[in-house]
């Protein structure tokens, strides 16, 4: 038996899994859009941040209870995503990939500016009815907000899994993702499903915004959550919901372990770049990720 600090490892693992499932929730918004529309949303982090600001703003400026604020954030993000698809993304259909990347990057800047102007630059809180007392589970000490976050994330990931596998709309969305032309020929209104995909991504971002905002506080830094999404996506596969979950959990655990064991050795900050190293390794070996579909290119 190796003499490892097992309790420490268990805590790190549990923490990583909890945070990882919350990463998966943010990544889900990304997958939904990529799956249905082939567009890459580089502003996913800003979506989350903006939703957080909406929820915090509704609580503090208008004095709503937390659940109305959360609902408002969801509604606001759905409306915003619908409008965005119509105004920005639709004219860019069929254009080179850099156009969509740059448009969403530009959108990220706009959202950051608007959020700070509208809600102020300070850090705001979203008061969810979750205690501060850490939950003791055997040898583990877990912050309750992470437990709630992970629970909600997993519930929604399961919900979306069911939605895509069984519901009529979900099946139609998968058809659109598979081949837009064939879907059109089968009488599916492709444009409507594009808009729907963005709206769903808005819902997911709003949930992510409320949960992450409650955990970290809402300010411009919240958008950095979006940067964590890329390793998650590449690991799991850009077009797989299961991949988002597995990738999220892996990134969460790797991050947590590297923060626990490597940080003391090299002086901190490994959390921010070990996932990226892992991602580059995956890109070199298996670019489509664990569950992604390999794309075959023809001239």
């Amino acid at each position: 038996m190796l003499d490892l600090p097992w309790r420490f490892i268990a805590i790190l693992l549990a923490n990583g899994l909890l945070v990882g499932s919350m990463y998966a929730l943010v990544a889900l918004g990304f997958v939904l859009i990529y799956k249905a529309t082939d567009a890459i949303n580089f502003a996913q982090g800003e979506f989350v941040m903006f939703a957080g600001f909406l929820a915090a703003g509704a609580t503090h400026l208008a004095g709503f209870p937390w659940w109305i604020s959360a609902l408002l954030a969801v509604l606001g993000m759905v409306v915003f995503a619908f409008g965005l698809e119509r105004v920005v993304l639709r004219p860019l259909l069929g254009r080179p990939i850099i156009a969509v990347i740059m448009a969403t990057l530009g959108l990220g800047f706009v959202l950051r500016g608007v959020a700070t102007l509208a809600f102020g630059g300070g850090t705001q809180t979203i008061p969810l009815p979750v205690g501060d007392e850490p939950v003791l589970l055997g040898p583990l000490i877990l912050p309750p907000i992470q437990l709630v976050g992970a629970g909600v994330s997993l519930a929604f990931l399961c919900g979306f899994g069911w939605f895509f596998l069984k519901s009529r709309i979900g099946v139609a969305m998968r058809a659109v993702a598979d081949s837009q032309q064939v879907a059109m020929a089968m009488g599916i209104n492709v444009r409507r499903y594009f808009a729907l995909a963005w709206a769903l991504a808005g819902v997911v971002s709003a949930l992510g915004g409320v949960l992450w905002g409650a955990m970290l506080g809402v300010d411009n830094q919240l958008a950095l959550v979006g940067l964590k999404v890329f390793p998650v996506m590449i690991l799991g596969g850009l077009d797989s919901i299961l991949g988002a979950v597995v990738g999220g959990l892996i990134v969460g655990v790797v991050e947590s372990l590297s923060a626990g064991f490597l940080d003391p050795l090299v002086g901190g900050g490994t959390k921010d770049f070990i996932p990226y190293l892992l991602m580059i390794a995956v890109l070199m070996v298996r670019p489509e990720g664990i569950f992604g579909r390999r794309r075959i290119e023809r001239v």
Binding site: G113, V114, I280
Partner: protein, 355 residues
């Protein structure tokens, strides 16, 4: 001299590939050269010259990124990282070995090119969004490495003080002195790239951008040329990093963050992908935009807002304008400022008797 044409009458390949195909262009270039050599340094205030200097630095970097993204079609969101590689390489050489600028600048460029090649290796297997994310990752890894390896970063706050460059014993410190120094490198970058793009290598780049599989079939070694593109592009980025370090007098990795990478992408998008002139326009536009916003609001914003509001308004409005303009150009004028310029030029080329 100033005559209008009635058609395209080129009878040789040499005429077709000339850098300045029209007599008018020669006069125009001469005029621009006189303007930048005499009018700008004599007339512009120190403040304006500082702004021009920043534009000149940005021109080098934007052209470099344009070689990779605009001409070869490989997206890089990691150019800030390459710039920091150049900056720290040069800063270390200058401070530890007392290397003069004419060695430090190419050394910074070469080191950045080396790192660029390493980052470019995955481009054989991955492209598009995957490559974009891989270059983004390289940005983080480079920034982390520089920040945490004290042998590179020089320890305290990861910044290295650099003495001003000296040319024939002259120390270049004021904006006027730096202006000619930077102008030289910007012009060098422009002419070198224009020539590169009419060579075999440049045409191979364009073939890869337009259809990489077809390019491979006609005998272009894609992998090698993609690595060339990465190397040349990150060489420019490295030189930009060194120039910026000389300009600031300090090498600091925070000056080359992800925002810088996105800024340079915005320059070539707004200027127009795949054109040297576009990169120059874009560099000027994006560099001047925040200053213009600030000046406009501090002078005219007082009518509507209090001074306190303006102070918070300026950085956020700059962000919104910046992002909004990127989206606007992508949707309305995908070929950017360069296209607008060409439309104007073509209108007057045959004016007043266009047919």
């Amino acid at each position: 001299m100033f005559h209008s044409e009635t058609g395209v009458f080129k009878t040789s390949y040499a005429a077709d590939m000339a850098l300045l195909p029209l007599p008018v262009a020669r006069w125009a270039v001469l005029g621009i050269a006189l303007f930048f050599l005499f009018v700008v340094p004599l007339v512009f205030s120190a403040y304006l010259l500082t702004l021009v200097n920043l534009v000149l630095i940005a021109v080098v970097g934007a052209i470099g990124l344009d070689i990779l993204t605009g001409y070869t079609g490989q997206i890089s969101i990691g150019h800030g990282g390459f710039m920091s590689v150049g900056a720290y390489t040069a800063a270390n050489l200058i401070v530890r070995l007392g290397v003069p600028f004419w060695l430090a600048i190419p050394a910074g460029g070469l080191m950045a090119a080396l790192i660029g090649i390493i980052v470019g290796i995955p481009s054989l297997r991955i492209k598009g969004i995957y490559l974009a994310i891989a270059t983004l990752a390289s940005q983080f890894i480079i920034a982390w490495t520089i920040n945490h390896v004290t042998w590179i970063s020089g320890g305290i706050e990861a910044s290295i003080q650099v003495p001003p460059p000296s040319v024939f014993g002259w120390k270049l410190q004021t904006p006027e002195q730096l202006y000619f120094f930077l102008l030289f490198f910007a012009v060098l970058a422009i002419v070198a790239t224009l020539n590169l793009m009419r060579s075999r290598i440049g045409r191979a780049f364009i073939a890869i951008r337009d259809q990489d599989i077809a390019a491979e079939i006609i005998g272009i070694n894609i992998f090698r040329y993609k690595l060339y593109a990465f190397a040349i592009s990150s060489f420019y980025a490295g030189v930009t990093g060194v120039l910026y370090t000389y300009y600031l007098g300090i090498a600091n990795y925070e000056q080359f963050g992800i925002d810088v990478s996105i800024n340079y992408l915005a320059m070539i998008i707004i200027g127009g992908l795949g054109s040297v002139l576009g990169a120059v326009f874009g560099a000027a536009f994006i560099t001047i935009l925040p200053e213009a916003t600030r000046l406009f609001l501090t002078h005219f914003g007082g009518v509507l807002f209090s001074q306190d509001t303006i102070r918070t308004l300026v950085p956020n409005l700059t962000l919104i304008l910046f992002g909004g303009l990127i989206i606007f150009f992508l949707i309305v004028e995908p070929e950017g400022l360069n296209r607008l310029w060409r439309n104007i030029r073509n209108y007057f080329r045959l004016w007043p008797f266009s047919y």
